[in-house]
Symmetry: C2
Subunit: 184 residues, 2 copies
Amino acid sequence: MSTGRPRATSRDTIAEAACELFLERGFEGTTVADITQRAGVSRSSFFNYFTSKSAILWAGLDEAISAAEAALRAGERVPDVLGRLVDELVPDSLAVGIVHGAAMGISAELAEERAVRTGRLARAVADRHAADGMTRLAAEARAAGEAGAVFAAVWAWASSGPPRGRLGSLLDEALRAVDGGAVP
Amino acid sequence: MSTGRPRATSRDTIAEAACELFLERGFEGTTVADITQRAGVSRSSFFNYFTSKSAILWAGLDEAISAAEAALRAGERVPDVLGRLVDELVPDSLAVGIVHGAAMGISAELAEERAVRTGRLARAVADRHAADGMTRLAAEARAAGEAGAVFAAVWAWASSGPPRGRLGSLLDEALRAVDGGAVP
DNA sequence: CTCGATTGTTGTACCGCGTCCAACAATACG
DNA sequence: CGTATTGTTGGACGCGGTACAACAATCGAG
């Protein structure tokens, strides 16, 4: 199982150095070279641990989304998948980014990345709805609301200082808001 | 009003050359240098006409979204703004991209850009809802659904070959789907 | 201990997007 | 005529990301 040269660093080491720098100089103001220099590794090595600079913040959530995509493709029901998504979520570095977003000067950058993830999740949900017989139009519209509810809940959760409530109940509230527009 | 050197090219000239190349080699397979070469201008000039390569496709929609943002900030009601957004929309190059998305090999690229725009619109809508007294959580969730409905309608409209129906009625249908999930 | 096989690390070269800037060209106006 | 204004161009640069070949450190087999 363990042959070959042992790793000289770790994702956490790099992520830690990166988050420090993000708080000091902002996200855009920090280059990959800066990160690797502080972490004490070469720039090449960085890409052995993260596929991109933004992946430092989003790796955890991206994994959870991938799992949700797979579950949806496998035919699981939408509410169940979304519930599990937020339950299994470990926001790690991302929570730091959300909370200090303004300080890190990445509110805009963060909003954009959030939108991309919302879109990814929405697409998977929409495919599920469509497979269940919904119109493509209706499926995409509803999916956008449901995916948006997930991220609204995650953001609200991260933004509220500890002790934080259950993420699951925030999600329920958000999902009710999507439906309940006509019935306030 | 008109002093100084006259323009030697136009946005349309560049956009036309670009769309040709997108169809030939795909979006990612086309570099800015390729575009300017075919259009007969320098690479520097490109950025006097478009802020980025993707702006070629999205300029029209981005303008419409900016107008919607302003209207929302000015206090206009959400349904009115969304209705006007799709009414005033001239999809121009974007429609080409949507229709030939697969051929251009930009389905993924297109989905991502779409998500970013959906997020931008959703944010503006959410701010409006929040200003109207909604919880931040509820405002973001509902806004995501409404913004998603807009884009679902635009995509459905572009994807359906001519003669296309009214975009406005597609939007209404999509918005009903957001609400009506519980009442099919 | 030595020899591969395997895995991690590093430097370097490269590409494309986007920014910046200084030089130059073409028009209108006084 | 100059002169101000606006457009065009080329070049240099920084950054993110990819590709790859060279090198280092470990393990197991003989």
